[in-house]
């Protein structure tokens, strides 16, 4: 009983023990990295846009024949949309949150800056936009109807006033005095900040890379976008969004000439924007989960064999006075020892895997909580996996030592 080899039979079953430890190490490395990515992406795709998502839908209308006046067409479309029972408000825009594409540009504090002060998403809105989107104005004022300027493809009038998000205001004016200051965006004319809203995400959907760096930097500019294609944002009164959407489609189709009209609810837009990413994330989660399960079954299987093989030795120990609890503990300790060495190697493996992944896949940095958490999961899992075989070992009768036969 002096040498450890007498206590733990694993020293004589080196290959099996090493196999378990390596499995635990690899499982831990993959599990902790996968967990980091899954949590990051799930929280990324669960972020709210800042608008009243449950009650908003969007309409695309494209004219096939040349309408006499885009201005008249748009105001009659909007008048019709606002007149539908169940519609709270509507406006025309160039793009909307999570659409997938839109306008982005740099916003500068001085004209002719060499490097941009910030990157922004640029939305065209009118005085109805804040109410339609359901975003909260936290400082300053809304646009008024007289400020809204027509904008077709060939003109770029200066924005006489802009409303920006709180995040952008804090970034550009850390002292909190954004209101009344000016930004330089698309023209060389200054655009004074007349209002600040709580939150509004941009139209781009990106988890990593340049496009993901300015999601919360949105700027609303007082423009009425005119052209063959119009995009309308519509907010309904709570409930009945689908019915209102159908009504809007059928009513728009019969006015203002031959057109291609389609509509999509904000919930569809959100689902579509994040679907592939969520899908891959969930599949990754499933792989990680099955991996853990396979490792656990492997441990259980191998321990069962060790138990079966050592029945006679166990019998002798029992005959020499070892209690059932002592036998149970022996197997639990044995597994703990193997699993612990696996976890130690696994932590190193997880960190080096993470460093490699960051270089190659823009991976999220490993969260120590996940590594340590995964380590504990592996230790606990090992204990659970060997519990059944160990209990069976504890049931081996002392008489087996006398009988001399190897029952397996």
């Amino acid at each position: 009983m002096k040498s450890p080899s007498a206590r733990f039979a694993i020293y004589r079953k080196k290959s099996g023990a090493v196999l378990i430890a390596v499995q635990i190490a690899i499982t831990l490395a993959i599990l902790s990295n996968a967990l980091g990515l899954i949590v990051d992406r799930l929280s990324w795709s669960a972020r709210l846009t800042g608008i009243d998502e449950a009650n908003i839908f969007f309409v695309y209308a494209t004219s096939v024949d040349k309408p006499p006046s885009f201005t008249a067409l748009q105001s009659s479309d909007l008048a019709l949309l606002r007149s539908i029972a169940g519609v709270a408000n509507a406006y025309a825009t160039n793009s909307f949150p999570l659409e997938g594409g839109g306008w982005s540009m740099s916003a500068d504090l001085e004209p002719d800056q060499k490097t941009a002060s910030a990157h922004i998403s640029y939305y065209f809105v009118d005085e109805h936009a804040l109410d339609t989107l359901g975003v909260k104005l936290i400082a300053g004022r809304n646009f008024n109807a007289s400020e809204i300027v027509d904008r077709d493809g060939s003109t770029a009038p200066p924005a006489t006033g802009i409303i920006i998000t709180r995040t952008l205001a804090q970034r550009l004016f850390p002292r909190g005095d954004a209101l009344g200051k000016s930004l330089y965006t698309e023209t060389k004319d200054p655009s004074p900040i007349i209002g600040i809203i709580d939150r509004l995400q941009g139209p781009f959907v990106a988890a990593t890379g340049f496009m993901s760096t300015f999601t919360e930097n949105s700027v609303l500019a007082p423009f009425r976008p005119l052209g063959e294609s119009s995009t309308y944002v519509v907010r309904t009164k709570p409930g009945g969004l689908n019915d209102v959407m159908k009504a809007a489609l059928s009513k728009l189709e019969v006015i203002n000439g031959i057109r291609i009209i389609s509509a999509r609810s904000m919930q569809e837009v959100r689902a579509r924007a994040y679907r592939s990413n969520r899908g891959l994330t969930l599949i990754l989660g499933a792989v990680a989960f099955i991996l853990v399960a396979v490792t656990a079954f492997g441990m259980a299987g191998l321990t069962s064999y060790w138990v079966a093989e050592r029945r006679r030795q166990i019998g002798i120990r029992r005959a020499l006075g070892a209690t059932r609890l002592a036998i149970l503990r022996l197997f639990q300790k044995e597994n703990l020892l193997i699993a612990f060495s696996g976890v130690l190697v696994g932590i190193l493996l997880a960190i080096s895997l993470n460093i490699w992944l960051i270089g190659r896949f823009e991976m999220v940095r490993l969260n120590p909580t996940y590594v340590i958490g995964s380590g504990f999961v592996m230790l606990l899992l090992g204990q659970i996996a060997v519990l059944l075989p160990a209990l069976r070992a504890a049931q081996v009768p002392p008489a087996l030592a006398i009988s001399g036969s190897r029952v397996s």
Partner: protein, 437 residues
């Protein structure tokens, strides 16, 4: 002899169904998972045009300079170039074939008045586009190079659109109305699965198939606005005519350079052009240009989601763990059967025959694991289709080759995992084991 081993193998596997089941499950899950993620990844990161991907190059030139450099790409180059540069480089004719590309959005009015009009994304390309990218024609062919010059109202349409608008008949010479203008059909494409659609990565590169192509010059004449991305330094250049003279970036240029010497030559021509621009004072910086072939281009644009790379990695880690697992279980079996083996050895079985017996046993496990793995791969591919957007749906597929590779991989991996346990079994000493009894 093999028949006898097989019989022995089946008997011994049956003797311990739980352990056998665990081994088969481990291998099956390992193979199933890795093959599923591999099939999606291969489809997404695969070469869309293997026969020519090394001869087709995307041209980039820095016309904004280091101060105004875009931040989208690490090297400061934009994926598009200005109309000025696209025209000038096109006029140099320094490549065997070349095409300017941008996409626009047009309305197609069906001939049947009962049908609703449809909005279609239309790539505007040069006639070289079709032979460059190996576009297969069902009827007709591309328009001529003189049509490129004229900007004639001609279209090449997809097979799908031909089925939809002309009931699949030969529609060459028929009229096709786009945005109120009558175009004449000169070519109908056959099925053309170019995935990902590397020449236009802006709009669903994995899901969308382009239905109509019009001549580049025609789109410019029609003042068609781009849907494939435009970067401007300011938007005071908003009208179409002004935009053509501006530094707004919105046109791609692809060239075909058959051999390495052509690439070297083209790089020189491109740099000389940029140097000329510096001499004339348009560029205030030394030439900053690049040409990338198809695979380099796809890599540069990072179109394969990072999660996919990690998924493939995790799947193979998973396969490895499964094999280790199976190996552990096989070791356990061997240890459990030392008595059996030693008796067999004492009765005259050679080491070779013990090895043969073990190999047959692992092969049987490998085959069963492969069958389970195949079923799980099918399930996995179905799950992928359900979980991923339709952009990727067409991608997750299995073919005979993939199935063959999978079965071989499963068996090879199982035998590989079984080598060490087999070696251990071969070293069981007959006398010693009998003595121990």
């Amino acid at each position: 002899m093999f028949g006898y081993y097989l019989d022995l193998a089946l008997r011994s596997l049956k003797r311990n169904p739980v352990l056998t089941g665990l081994m088969i499950t481990a291998i099956g899950f390992g193979i199933g998972t890795s093959m599923t993620s591999l099939s999606v990844s291969r489809a997404m990161s695969g070469d869309p045009i293997p026969e020519k991907s090394r001869q087709l190059f995307m041209v980039q030139i820095d016309s904004w300079g280091p101060d105004k450099r875009g931040e989208r790409n690490e090297d400061g180059l934009d994926e598009n170039m200005s109309y000025i540069d696209a025209m000038a480089l096109n006029n140099l004719h320094a490549a065997r074939r070349q095409t300017r590309i941008f996409s626009t959005y047009l309305n197609a009015l069906p001939t049947d008045p009962k049908q609703k009009p449809v909005g279609i994304i239309v790539p505007a390309v040069d006639s070289d586009f079709f032979p460059m990218f190996n576009a297969p024609f069902r009827f007709g062919g591309p328009w001529s190079r003189s049509d490129d010059q004229e900007g004639s109202p001609l279209v090449v349409i997809s097979r799908k659109l031909n089925d939809q608008f002309f009931a699949g008949a030969n529609s060459i010479g028929k009229a096709f109305t786009l945005d109120g203008v009558s175009y004449r059909v000169v070519g109908v494409l056959d099925d053309w699965p170019l995935v990902p659609r590397f020449y236009n990565l802006h709009i669903r590169p994995y899901g969308q198939i382009d239905e109509i192509f019009i001549p580049f010059t025609r789109a410019i004449k029609a003042q068609a606005s781009t849907t494939s991305g435009m970067s401007c330094q300011d938007t005071t250049t908003a009208s179409f005519e002004v935009r053509l003279r501006s530094e707004c970036l919105w046109i791609q240029l692809w060239v075909e350079l058959p051999v390495a010497a052509d690439v070297v030559n083209y790089r020189t021509v491109l740099n000389n052009y940029a140097a000329d621009q510096q001499r004339t004072g348009r560029f205030h910086w030394p030439p900053h240009t690049q040409v990338r072939d198809v695979m380099q281009w796809l890599k540069y644009r990072h179109i394969v989601p990072n999660e996919l790379g990690l998924l493939v990695l995790a799947s193979f880690g998973f396969l490895f763990v499964c094999l280790m697992n199976a190996m552990g279980l096989m070791l356990a079996r061997i240890i459990g059967r030392t008595q059996d083996i030693s008796v067999r050895r004492a009765l005259g079985a050679s080491r070779t025959s013990i090895i043969g017996q073990c190999l047959v046993e692992t092969t049987v496990i490998g085959v069963l694991g492969a069958i389970l793995g195949l079923l799980l791969t099918l399930l996995g591919v179905m799950a992928m289709r359900a979980a991923l957007a339709d952009d990727f749906a067409a991608l997750a597929y299995l073919n005979a080759k993939a199935v063959g590779i999978e079965v071989l991989l499963a068996i090879a991996a199982t035998i590989g995992a079984g080598l060490y346990p087999t070696w251990r079994a071969a070293h069981v000493e007959p006398a010693l084991q009998l003595k121990a009894e």
